[in-house]
């Protein structure tokens, strides 16, 4: 078990792409940490650099206080589960789980013991003699986790741990993964492009874009107060409304409406972007008015799209049975304290 400390870390590919760009990050001992971002943002490269599969171009990586920047892969005490699990198809489940011990030339007895104790903890005891091809996706994932745990590493890295499972199984696996991490208390870093996964699992999230961290914080921070419009757009299962407008007398004027600004110090005429989550908008007497153009059923709630003056589209969610009719006019206002104002030029939160 160990904390991870990255300072000034860059990973540049031979073709000149800066996949990880001068990145500082510290991950606490025992923390469940998510690297979140769209594909190509460098999150997987960062994970692979921590594992040692990619050479960092500059900066340092330290694990548990020891500098491992130039340590070879496999000697860092880092276990990793790959997106496709990478279970060896010619080995049984037991052989797969015991593989880290086989590499170290541990005795056959030690290998068997490791396979049976680790598999028991993950509900795989019955499957030890099977081959990976004879397992379901969820079982394969647990074998891959068991193999990583059997390595007794200080740090566990997971590359898109849930993406190869179907939607139903994914929820089960998510709960399982969170419980497992709590029980093991192992410093765990996982990569995902799915914001819901990151919000549900992680203690802290780093939202990445272009090889840099855009925001670092708890799921609550990241969801409630996205640091810039990129994060605001990326986090949340329904996209946040980002409405351009101007500041005036403590109000922001967007989509033909005047909304009370959370920041009263804004100079008149400042170009801003107002961010409101559809979940935080509710029908009201005063506020943003528009014509209901689309109603999408999300189960417990429905997502209503309003067409507002100036061809601006605003989304809000309404409880079931309260869906408005398409074509009718509707007015909605943000819940108190939920309106976020971003600088239109820097895209940063004001």
């Amino acid at each position: 078990m160990a904390a991870i400390e990255l300072t000034g870390l860059s990973t540049v590919y031979p073709n000149g792409v800066r996949a990880v760009d001068d990145l500082d990050l510290s991950i606490d001992d025992g923390e469940f940490f998510a690297l979140l971002g769209p594909s190509g943002c460098g999150k997987t490269t960062l994970l692979r650099t921590i594992a040692g599969l990619e050479r960092s171009s500059s900066g340092t990586i330290s694990l548990g206080g020891g500098d491992v920047t130039r340590t070879d892969v496999g000697k860092r005490g880092v276990a990793m589960v790959f997106q496709d699990y990478a279970l060896f198809p010619h080995m049984t489940v037991a052989q797969n789980i015991a593989y880290p011990l086989r590499v170290r030339r541990a005795s056959k007895q030690a290998q068997q013991d490791a396979a049976s104790t680790t598999s028991a903890g993950l509900g795989l005891a019955e499957l030890l003699e099977r081959r990976p091809a004879q397992l379901s996706g969820g079982q394969q994932q647990r074998v891959a986790l068991a193999r990583a745990i059997a390595m007794e590493a200080q740090v566990l890295l997971l590359d898109e741990p849930l993406s190869n499972l179907d939607a139903r199984l994914r929820l089960e696996a998510r709960t399982f993964l969170k419980r497992l991490q709590r029980e093991l208390g192992l410093t765990t870093v996982f990569v995902t492009h799915d914001q819901a996964e990151a919000l549900a699992l992680a203690d802290r999230i780093a939202v990445m874009a272009d090889g840099r961290i855009r925001q670092l914080g708890t799921p609550k921070d990241v969801f409630q107060r996205p640091a810039d419009t990129f994060v605001a757009n990326f986090i949340g299962s329904t996209p946040m409304n980002l409405l351009t407008g101007t500041a005036h007398d403590g109000f922001v004027e967007v989509a033909g409406a005047r909304l009370a600004s959370p920041d009263l110090s804004l100079a008149d005429g400042t170009k801003v972007v107002a961010g409101i989550r559809p979940e935080y908008l509710a029908p009201a007497a005063e506020g943003i008015t528009g014509t209901v153009s689309i109603v999408e059923n999300l189960g417990v709630t429905s997502l209503v799209t309003l067409e507002c003056p100036g061809d601006v589209l605003v989304g809000l969610t309404v409880p079931e049975h309260e869906e408005p009719r398409v074509g009718t006019a509707m007015t909605a206002a943000p819940a108190p304290g939920r309106l976020l104002v971003y600088d239109a030029e820097t895209t940063r939160l004001l």
Binding site: G74, A79, F88, Y99, R102
Partner: protein
């Protein structure tokens, strides 16, 4: 059934029968002639005897040549498989400029290198190296001719082994040797087995190279000796040839059956199982 349909069907059956006979009759000859008291070039129900076998076994070079074939093929197969696997692994994993061009040029040249065009230079080279009549050296030359094709085919197999297998093994601390031994070789095993059988069969049937490079009759493999099996009168020795041919065919068939049963000839890629 109309007359036309019947005619068509009859013609079709006759054609298939003729084609079948064309391939089946030599096989039947091979099965029956070794046991016939008076084997000819025609096919007939044998007059059973084992005399041909006794005479073949007493032939001064027959059994020795089969042994020579086995040595020659073992060398050629081993060298082709081992070097082919290592080379194709490297070519599959390391990005070098012009890699594909290199592979195609190798493949193209390989048909020249051990083809008829290069016979004289190869002979002269081997002569000057003092390697005429060396079975091991001949095996090496045969392997050299097979390597490009072997690398070309094996590279495809190894390309289809996901890299995450190797990376996973490396994260668990495996050395490059362990990665190769524990992961790459077992996963690419069907491909390697295919190349092994292919190399063995190619070398087993190779006539020209051993004919040129092994001048001593006692060192010649079966494929070359077969040509010299003549009786005192100078015509084909039909007592020895059928038995010898049958013996000559057995290893290839046996190898095919063994490998097919043990590993199965399957090709990766394309369709997800």
């Amino acid at each position: 059934m109309t007359f036309h349909a019947m005619l068509r069907r009859t013609l079709y059956t006759v054609l298939i029968a003729a084609l079948l006979a064309f391939f089946a009759i030599p096989m039947l000859w091979l099965a029956s002639a070794p046991f016939d008291s008076d084997p000819g070039v025609g096919l007939r129900w044998p007059d059973w005897t084992l005399d041909n076998w006794r005479i073949t076994f007493e032939h001064p070079y027959a059994l020795g040549s089969l042994l020579n074939s086995i040595v020659l093929c073992a060398v050629a197969t081993l060298v082709t498989t081992v070097l082919g696997t290592l080379a194709s692994y490297a070519l599959s994993r390391v990005r070098i400029p012009g890699r594909d061009a290199l592979l195609y040029v190798l493949l193209l040249l390989s048909s020249v290198v051990t083809g008829t065009a290069a016979m004289v230079p190869i002979f002269v080279m081997m002569f000057q190296l003092g390697l005429i009549n060396s079975q091991y050296a001949t095996g090496l030359v045969i392997a050299g001719g097979m390597l490009p094709a072997a690398i070309f085919i094996l590279k495809d197999f190894i390309d289809s082994v996901p890299r995450s297998y190797e990376e996973s093994a490396r994260v668990f601390g495996a050395s490059p040797g362990q990665v190769l031994l524990h992961v790459v070789l077992p996963v690419a095993r069907p491909g390697i087995a295919t190349i092994m059988v292919w190399a063995f069969v190619q070398a087993w049937g190779n006539f020209l190279l051993p004919f040129l490079l092994l001048r001593d009759v006692s060192g010649q493999p079966a494929a070359v000796l077969l040509r010299t099996l003549k009786d005192e009168g100078g015509s084909a020795n039909l007592t020895v040839i059928p038995v010898f041919s049958l013996l000559y065919a057995i290893p290839v068939v046996a190898l095919y059956l063994f490998v097919s049963k043990r590993y199965g000839f399957r090709f990766h890629g394309g369709i997800k199982a």
